[in-house]
Symmetry: C3
Subunit: 349 residues, 3 copies
């Protein structure tokens, strides 16, 4: 694509030779002739001076680069846009691969692309333009909305409902049985059937090997626009708000309610039956045993205010020293009191 056309499609101001042919998007260090690159993180600004790229996307006020420049008000957004323009089509071949096992009463939308060895069980409904990669299973009565992409080896268990444009990475499980048991006096656990359903709203992305359980009654609901990374666990009956981000290996226990625009960083754990308010954030590995108010930024286990946690953590490593200082104070005070009482009985030192 000509750089001038690219500038126009991205809404960027062109500063350089618009007749250049751009064939690929690449990192600033590895880009070469024909590549467009970008600078979004100022941390990498120095690399720009050495780039071999033909063109670069950068902010209006960034230092000039030794190549053609596309000046953008939102360089990271323009980078995403250029990647969309150059993305290759990775959908399976149009139609349904003959090796699939599709229940006779399953309903398939228009222009689907269903790869080899996919299983679609009775009563399932697949929307228009849905792409399903090999070995994925869509369970009985499940609904997959228009324009969804299910990568390889995904389980969409019976009764699950996916909205439009949901993307599910390989190996994720939607609708596995919730972890619910009743325990008798002898400590023996009896399974509570978990046959209610999971609802995934529009524009959600679910990471590889993530698991989302269905509850016994009611629903597990992942609201619109949410992004879930790999190996995340969402237990039965959880509700997650719109545009929330759950990073890799986060775990959310049963029946908890997570607000909108929440960000939980990697390996955060959330206990059951609690509420996390809108726009709350937790740093990596935080353990959340209690409700978190809207807008809070929390860290540690049990989770406390992030600034408080940072300050306390800085003192933590000095604990042995603090302990010694306390012992020293006690010794000096004891000496003082001894001397003082000595002073009272005998004024010589």
């Amino acid at each position: 694509m000509k750089l001038s056309e690219l500038a126009e499609r991205l809404g960027c101001r062109l500063d350089g030779d618009g007749s250049l042919d751009i064939v690929r998007v690449a990192g600033v260090d590895t880009a070469g002739a024909g590549d467009i690159t970008f600078l979004a993180n100022p941390k990498y600004a120095s690399s720009v001076q050495h780039t071999k790229a033909s063109a670069i996307i950068l902010a209006e006020d960034a230092e000039a680069a030794p190549c053609a420049m596309l000046r953008s008000p939102h360089p990271y957004r323009s980078f995403a846009d250029v990647l969309v323009l150059f993305a290759r089509d990775e959908r399976p071949a149009p139609g349904v691969h003959p090796s699939c096992v599709i229940a006779p009463d399953a309903v398939l939308g228009k222009d689907v692309a269903i790869g080899p060895l996919v299983v679609i069980e009775p009563g399932a409904r697949i929307g228009d333009r849905v792409a399903i990669h090999p070995h994925t299973v869509v369970g009985a009565g499940a609904v997959v909305g228009d324009d969804c992409v299910l990568h390889a080896r995904v389980s969409v268990r019976g009764g699950s409902r996916l909205g439009a444009r949901v993307i599910v990475q390989d190996g994720a499980v939607i609708g596995s049985d919730g972890f619910g048991f009743v325990t008798d006096g002898a400590g023996v656990h009896y399974k509570i059937p978990q046959q209610s359903h999971v609802v995934i709203e529009d524009d959600v992305e679910i990471g590889a090997n993530t698991t989302i359980d269905r509850p016994a009654v009611g629903e597990t609901r992942i609201r619109r626009g949410k992004k879930i990374d790999n190996l995340v666990m969402i237990a039965h009956g959880v509700s997650v708000g719109e545009h929330t981000i759950l990073a890799a290996q986060v775990g959310v226990a049963g029946s908890s309610r997570i607000g909108s625009h929440v960000v939980l960083a990697g390996q955060v754990g959330v206990a059951g039956h609690i509420e996390i308010g809108d726009n709350a954030r937790a740093t990596a590995q935080t353990g959340i045993p209690n409700d978190i108010p809207a807008g809070a930024l929390v860290s540690g286990y049990p989770a406390i205010d992030n600034r408080e946690w940072l300050k306390a953590s800085a003192v933590f490593r000095k604990l042995p020293k603090l302990q010694r200082r306390i012992a020293e104070l006690e010794k000096r005070l004891a000496a003082l009191k001894t001397k003082e009482s000595t002073d009272f009985t005998d004024s010589t030192d």
Copy 2:
């Protein structure tokens, strides 16, 4: 089902119209006409007064509800029982789907229900009434006991032995190679073959995408009645006692021995070659580097007694303040000594 019949089958005392037709189990907030709901957690008692359910299961001493009531000595157990009564059959169609690849010498029990594209390798034995969902692989020589349910995309690697009534959720891996290496002087790691086996005893449930490794010699053993949640890691040579509960994302390192009726909450980590006594419990995210005695309740990393941990955690956030108080004490004591020595040389202040 008539409410009177339901009362009888659940062993509950009926208080209300026994002729009501009950068609579904639902949550107290979402239940409507024809639904039965329940109250087990007193936290939700106030919702009961507004329920639209036709009937409710509740304790003998719970406040009356505005609908028919089934009074139960164990309302949570009765709730589980009613869910069993209303559970829909989710087994694959009876028999073996023609798309399966079954080794000629594999042995299948009576009344199995084996869904599409299942692979059963040479010498494997499948018990009576076993249900196997699509894309599951049962490896060479593996044994799957009577009434097991293997959900979709499960790996039962060669040589694994499952008892009766074992339930395995989607994507779980039983019998992957243990993580065993020998490292030479140059820091190069050589794989130690891990071809011994995993034993899963009767009535165990294994969560979605959980992994259980097999060892080089000996066995990994999961004893009777154990419940394992999603994304749990059990390393090679581990032994887990009866009726133990491992919540989501727990990890247990090699050769550790976990007792009976133990409960490890979400994201707990257990180091290798240690012992956890019967009835011990660990709260979420606990790290266990040493043996834990029977009956202990532990928290934190390294794990300590839970009450001790709660108290220490409460002080943790005050560390910056404590540090200031120590500095203040030092200053005051120094001032005192200075003054005091001043006093000795010059008694004026």
Copy 3:
């Protein structure tokens, strides 16, 4: 195999009857007639005196055992070697199972063993002697080097490149989309396409249900000889050095660079865009938010020097007591000052 032949093949010194027939490798407690066992961990030395094994591998200076002995300069290495000698062949049958779906332009090497229902997409290249177990998917244009073993239900997404002798356990995902989004002013997230690739170098092993993401540009690279356990998450753009070990449930966030011969124990988390130097090690559950120098041993979150952390952790549980000691000091000092000022105004006690 005769014990004398075994001794020769392992390079061990035989002390006992070389004509014994050895048929199996077993643990010291469970070994019987015909078995060879080993002692590598001195912790288990006392068990040796009761072993029923026919032969044992042990160090030159270990106490004699009540059976034939193979004395080894490296008993753990000899144990690994004997397991290799006795390993059974677990590869699928030679050739390509007729149920596979192989793209016409995919290239297969010599002597491959490809089990049932494997999918190989257009343009993929499979090396010589590669073994692929059931339900594994090799994506478009992916390269799998000579002598690789892909266990069941593995995803090798399009464009991934695996070197020689790579082993991938069941359910692992190589090349899932990195977790990259750009967020607009309203907090709505837009996916950044992640279509660049993952490179796995020679002799890497990847655990069950582990996920390795591909980036938008550049590469995610796992260098030669690295061993990755189960349920590990490696984000997009990460680079991991040679012979590094990542234990189970470790998570590494985007663009971080991990050196060679690093060891991260179970459940460790590494933040994005940081560097971990060669030979660094982190104990279990460590959280690493900043760069770690080469050779460091770190613990805790935020990660600090392990010895410092051990000492601080020992004091942590005493925090309530320290708090009381500070309060006591304050009280005593206040009493002292009161008395002192009293002294000044009135010298009676």
